[in-house]
């Protein structure tokens, strides 16, 4: 389905993504982990064509999407939705309009300038918002919503695109643990119910373990791990993060339970000394 072949993106001397090879044969949920600067964002941005690759190919259903230009490129972008860390909504427009932006590739510039969306699209937008549990905020301005709600609006915009792939670039990095859970569960539900491929950059191991079928680890632009969550041992994780033996998985966690465990462990240590 999706084959990334020797994908490289260089900024001057610095290779942000270095000869990445990934093959995905069926729609699964993939988590990409690695520390900041490892090239995770660049990889996703190249997939969506927000950034152009330096060399290599991205084959999707037999077509190299790195070669697409103009309308064909925009059409690919509409099939390959992107969710951002900072949500990237239009803050002064209402929630439904933001979701309707997902249809821009199919609409003429003139009709979108005057906000003339078809009634069935508006109805569908509100149904998607309802599926994500935020339908009652439909007429509000996007900026009036909390971070977790804004991220769900961004997911709704992605769903409105009816995409084959959903890319999520650190979708929960700006959210508190509870909202992070809601957003990750929404992505998982979308994957399970609609059968869409989801690729998410995550900076915590336990999120990747909990929600993803497959984990890819990146270090300094290279793919250093590719396997199931079970294969991801503490040793492998240390390689990905370039850490020594003091590294513990819980240290990267934002999950309430694991944090509690960690605190309890520390408390035990404190008691024993």
């Amino acid at each position: 389905m999706l084959e990334i072949e020797n994908l490289t993106k260089a900024f001057g001397q610095n290779k942000a993504v270095d000869a990445a090879n990934i093959v995905v044969d069926k729609p699964v949920m993939i988590g990409i982990i690695g520390r900041s600067g490892a090239g995770k964002s660049t990889l996703l941005r190249t997939l969506n064509r927000l950034t152009d690759a330096t060399s290599g190919a991205i084959m999707f259903e037999g077509q190299d999407v790195t070669q697409l230009r103009g309308a064909a490129k925009r059409n690919w972008q509409s099939q390959c939705a992107m969710i951002f860390q900072q949500f990237n909504l239009v803050p002064r427009m209402d929630v439904v309009s933001n979701v309707l932006h997902g249809t821009l590739n199919r609409r003429s510039t003139f009709t979108t300038m005057f906000n003339l969306y078809p009634t069935e699209d508006i109805h569908r937008a509100i149904e998607i918002l309802d599926r994500l549990g935020i339908a009652e905020h439909a007429p509000k301005r996007a900026e009036a919503l909390s971070g977790g709600q804004q991220q769900r609006v961004a997911i709704a915009r992605a769903l409105m695109q009816d995409p084959k792939i959903i890319l999520a670039d650190e979708p929960i990095a700006s959210l508190d643990p509870l909202n992070a859970q809601v957003v990750m569960q929404s992505l998982r539900d979308i994957h399970e119910q609609d059968g869409r491929m989801v690729i998410a950059n995550l900076h915590t191991l336990d999120t990747a373990r909990r929600y993803c079928d497959r984990v890819i680890g990146m270090h300094a632009g290279r793919i250093v791990f590719d396997g199931t969550p079970d294969q991801l041992t503490t040793g492998a994780a240390r390689d990905i993060y370039g850490a020594d033996e003091t590294f513990s998985e819980a240290a990267t966690s934002t999950q309430i339970e694991t944090l509690n465990e960690e605190v309890a462990k520390l408390a035990n240590i404190a008691e024993s000394v």
């Binding site: 900024f11 600067g37 490892a38 964002s41 941005r45 950034t51 005057f114 149904e127 339908a135 007429p139």
Partner: protein
């Protein structure tokens, strides 16, 4: 909040959308009607009539280009001939931008809510800025030329006064968007008002000041050229003499227009380079993770 069913939300939202669309259509119709009506009224009052005059619109540029083209070999001589007056014009503009910009900067800090040291003075000082902007430069220049005699100094003062009004307002709008957090930080260590402004506000807004200042410089070059028409010296005086119809000096007028055009291009290019340097630091490759 009462739970609403999805269909109720859909109906409500559609009602809102319909209302907005009706309002937009009405506004569009009113806009078009006003534009057409206004044009008709203005055309009736016009001495010559718009449609009658339209074909003659290009006569003047055609004459200028025609004469300049027929005597093209003389152009570079004219460039040298008018260079000193161009430099005088640029000098007037530069001095007035600098003086007006510095005064405007002080004024802007005095009229920004949240930064002003004397809040009740904000209103009166803003009216002062309004007055400075309202009086046309040419009026101030004519009064000053009457009092001080012709020459570059009255023109410089006239443009500087207008610049204080214009930049004072623009700078204060920039100041309003500056974050107050560094200012509060400096206040907490016991810094005085001037220190807080100099170290807390100005570093944040300097790139915007610079870009507005350079835009003003461009406008002032043109203003000082116009003031030459009323006896303030510089290239405007030469332009008036060469531009009068029937003197056969259109080739020299064309040379002056070209000089002004090149000056504006140079100022524009320099300003965008300087602004980039100030906002992003010197050229260094940025790396996006």
């Amino acid at each position: 909040m009462a739970e609403l069913s999805t269909s109720a939300i859909q109906t409500d939202y559609m009602a809102q959308v319909r209302q907005k669309r009706i309002m937009n259509t009405i506004l569009l119709v009113v806009f078009i009607a006003l534009m057409l009506g206004g044009f008709a009224t203005a055309n009736d009052r016009n001495a010559g009539g718009f449609w009658n005059g339209l074909p003659m619109l290009l006569d003047f540029p055609a004459d200028v280009i025609g004469e300049a083209y027929s005597r093209a070999e003389l152009l570079h001589g004219y460039f040298l001939k008018y260079l000193p007056s161009l430099i005088e014009t640029i000098n007037i503009a530069a001095a007035s931008t600098l003086l007006g910009g510095l005064l405007g900067l002080v004024m802007s800090l005095l009229v920004t809510r949240g930064l002003a040291p004397v809040p009740w003075m904000i209103g009166p000082l803003r009216r002062v800025l309004d007055v400075l902007r309202a009086v046309p430069e040419i009026v101030i220049a004519l009064v000053l030329i009457f009092l001080l005699g012709g020459g570059p100094v009255p023109a410089m003062i006239a443009i500087a006064l207008h610049t204080v009004g214009a930049l004072g307002k623009l700078f204060s709008e920039v100041n309003e968007n500056a974050s107050l957090m560094p200012v509060e930080g400096l206040e907490s260590v016991g810094a005085g008002w001037t220190q807080r402004m100099w170290l807390g506000v100005i570093p944040q807004v300097a790139p915007n000041y610079l870009s507005y200042g350079l835009l003003r410089f461009e406008i002032n070059i043109r203003a000082s050229a116009i003031l030459g028409f009323v006896g303030a010296g510089g290239i405007g005086y030469d332009l008036r003499n060469t531009m009068s119809w029937g003197q056969g000096k259109f080739d020299e007028a064309a040379a002056i227009f070209l000089l002004l055009f090149f000056t504006i291009v140079v100022v524009d290019q320099t300003s965008s380079y300087l602004r980039n340097r100030l906002t992003h630091g010197s050229a260094k490759g940025e790396i996006h993770a």
